[in-house]
């Protein structure tokens, strides 16, 4: 709205930065193996803040020797301690971790925003509370595995190798670690190279919780570290969240190894807005769907499918709304859009956006001041996008929305499903019967109705097609870390 652009003063809210004084960071972090921080044998690397490009800390790099040590520690902890412990006792540790996460919530949120670039309001109100919720939820399952629907006395798999992405560093760790431990497995986990910081604070929490040594081992490093980990012969389970290309490589390399595998990969979700949608809430849902966490969300609603008769109105309202988004310092409590996580990712977002423009789509970016330092990309929407355009097909993983139109529910369904991915989808309509009928025909693991990007530990999450297989969260998430009596070798 024009009033918003011309007014100075009040809407330029005075800075309200969250203090970093709560953080007590070390200058360098080792690998967390067998309950201790130890040196890595690869060349250490720096982790920087993507909003300022300032160095935060030095992070150890695990080579294959370190991976061997970590897997051996997890094996020992599995054989001697964790697999022999009662479910109730495992639950006690998980409850303790959940409470410690809550106690140190502000510290974790600040670390996450500093290292990842996401706005503090998201790390504070979404990421960290969900981390605690995940541990609380799976803590409750630890002594009730008989009721997980897998038959009596389901067995843990053993050592789980887990590789997680940079978009929700601590939350993805929780999604992986909580169900694995509840089910009785031990873990070697590798955070993403650019976002290891919150995992290091989490390691301190594990020490505080007195978790038996070796039950969770956290090794840092880049792609080769992850490759060594998932290919390690003494690993029973591999869980990966990240890009489809890497997921495909992991599927190949683990094939025939007997390792159980779950993959949570990319997405290109359709967010379908019908002409009978609650319009103001739909606009909020579109914004939340694609600009939450700068669009670094595998289930982001990156394809807006809007019914043609309301297209102009929706786009118009959307632009007005985007004009009120505040891009800037991730630690400011009023920031809506933070920094892009890395230069590499920024380059990719720029490249795909340029391709979009070259292919004839009309580009519009919110008028916001881009800071001098750091990696930033203004919230952007593309209209006049055709279904064959690359920005309508490739996962951009950034704050870029492709707007397409449809005329009938049938066409909406066909276009929504016309993607190699199938992680999530959204439907906006005030008509319940329409929502149910459309949801029934969408090939996506998660379908939101009149909302978007809502997560709950009790709800299974995962994809169809190239978005991966296996489910995380809920009872289904346990099945990924258990062998039922009727399955497998029963070793």
């Amino acid at each position: 709205m024009s009033d918003l652009s011309k007014t100075p003063s009040f809407l330029d809210y005075a800075p309200a930065p969250e203090s970093t004084s709560i953080l007590h960071l070390k200058k360098s972090y080792g690998l967390f193996i067998d309950g201790e921080f130890v040196k890595g044998h690869g060349a250490p690397f720096l982790t920087i803040s993507p909003s300022s490009e300032q160095k935060i800390a030095e992070i150890a790099n695990a080579n294959s020797r370190d991976v061997d040590v970590a897997v051996a520690a997890a094996r020992k902890a599995y054989d001697r301690t964790w697999s022999r412990m009662s479910g109730a006792d495992r639950g006690k540790y998980l409850f303790r971790i959940a409470r410690l996460v809550q106690e140190r919530a502000r510290e974790l949120a600040v670390a996450e925003s500093l290292d990842n670039g996401k706005p503090i309001k998201e790390s504070r109100d979404v990421d960290v509370p969900l981390v605690a919720a995940w541990f609380f939820y799976y803590a409750g399952w630890a002594d009730k595995l008989d009721y997980a629907g897998l038959g009596p006395n389901p067995k843990a798999l053993g050592v789980a190798a887990q590789v997680i992405p940079w978009n929700f560093p601590l939350l993805m760790l929780a999604w992986k670690v909580a169900p694995a431990l509840a089910a009785g497995n031990t873990v070697v986990i590798k955070p993403a190279e650019t976002t290891s910081l919150s995992a290091m604070i989490f390691a301190e929490i594990l020490q505080q919780a007195d978790l038996p040594a070796g039950v969770v081992n956290i090794i840092t490093g880049a792609g080769d570290t992850g490759e060594a980990l998932v290919n390690h012969p003494d690993v029973n389970k591999v869980a990966f969240t990240g890009s489809t290309a890497v997921g495909r490589a992991i599927a190949k390399s683990t094939a025939g190894s007997g390792k159980k595998l779950t993959l949570e990969l990319g997405g290109k979700a359709a967010n379908i807005v019908f002409d009978d949608a609650p319009i103001d809430q739909a606009i909020e849902g579109i914004v939340n769907g694609i600009f939450f966490n700068q669009g670094h969300v595998c289930c982001a609603g990156s394809r807006l499918l809007v019914q043609e008769n309301v297209h102009d109105e929706v786009v118009d309202r959307l632009k007005s709304r985007l004009g009120t988004l505040r891009l800037g310092d991730p630690l400011d409590k009023n920031t809506d859009i933070g920094a892009i996580n890395s230069r590499e990712q920024l380059d990719r977002v720029r490249e795909l956006s340029d391709i979009g423009e070259a292919e004839g789509a009309v580009r519009w970016s919110a008028p916001c001041v881009i800071p001098d330092k750091g990696f930033w990309f203004a919230p952007t929407i593309f209209t006049n996008v055709s279904t064959s355009s690359r920005i309508a097909r490739d996962e951009i993983f950034g704050p870029v929305l492709a707007v397409l139109t449809f005329r009938t529910p049938g066409e909406a369904i066909a276009k929504a499903n016309n993607t190699p991915y199938g992680l999530s989808a959204g439907i906006w309509s005030d008509k319940g019967s329409k929502i149910l009928a459309v949801a029934d025909k969408l090939r996506a693991g998660v379908i939101w109705a009149n909302t978007f990007n809502r997560f709950d530990p009790a709800s299974p999450f995962g994809g169809y097609k190239e978005s991966g297989f296996g489910r995380e969260g809920g009872r289904h998430g346990l099945a990924a870390y258990l062998e039922s009596a009727g399955w497998g070798s029963g070793k």
């Binding site: 009033d3 009040f10 309200a16 809430q281």
Partner: protein, 349 residues
Amino acid sequence: MNALPGINVVTSGRAIVSTALAPAERALGVLGGDLTERSLRLHLEGLPGVDAVGLEERAAALGTRSIKTTSKAWALNTIIRLIDLTTLEGADTPGKVSSLVAKALTPDPNDASVPRVAAVCVYGDMVPAAVTALGAAHGDPDAGLVSVAAVATAFPSGRASLRVKLADTEDAVAAGADEIDMVIDRGAFLAGNYGLVFDQIVAVKDSCRRADGTFAHLKVILETGELNTYDNVRKASWLSILAGGDFIKTSTGKVTPAATLPVTLLMLEVVRDWYRLTGERIGVKPAGGIRTSKDAIKYLVTVAETVGEHWLQPHLFRFGASSLLNDVLLQRQKLTTGRYSGPDYVTVD
């Protein structure tokens, strides 16, 4: 009685539903020449729905804005400038009203930099007392003066004949009220008699006409706590604007819940949509239940981020409140002196 062509006259409790509604300029502009009960109904029922969960989430998100230092100082002064300082009790007396007026003119006797409130809001029979007490300070709040707002139309229930409602309004205007806070007939609205509600607003608006042809400002109270659903609030907001209201106001303050942030956000969205459609700016007044600076700042944020900062002036946004002012004064003292005082450092009125 002051019957206008096309106005429904309520006789013995039963509404005579007209087919042609009272002429209202705005409604004619938007609905076209065919202004009937049916066209009004079709318009209201064609409005997009409101998703309650989404609306409340958005309001909660706006409530998390962190307003500090210079922004907070500006916000506190702005809140004061937007307050309709209110007393609506059976026990109101001229003495009580003149003490309220004194507070309106000099909110903090120790600090001359505190702005005046926008208006005092009283029952119709207290208007002369308010006008007398204000003296030369009586006038347009946009010019730094203080208005007199009177509740009318059988406030708060609105359960009276149209004749009584119009007389109530005319008396208040004749006594010098600058603003009339009317209530809609919620019973008629809930029964689906949109035309009746519409006609009454048009009639009251007409009764706001002064001898010189100007109009007292009309605030239309929806009493959202009785309308109950957000869809109803959106319909009633449109209805009130179409019928000629200058302001839409949430509540009488006599029904719980009174103003809430989601309801106010929704009404602001209607006002924004009206502006997009016609270029005309309608005011919004949340009333009742806003007691702390912290809450009031959430409303300012909601206004600024929904319709724009431009709306934060007395002829477009008001707080209907009585105890809010003292909390703002305490916060203001804290900001100037760096320490909190206590309730004895602000005056009771």
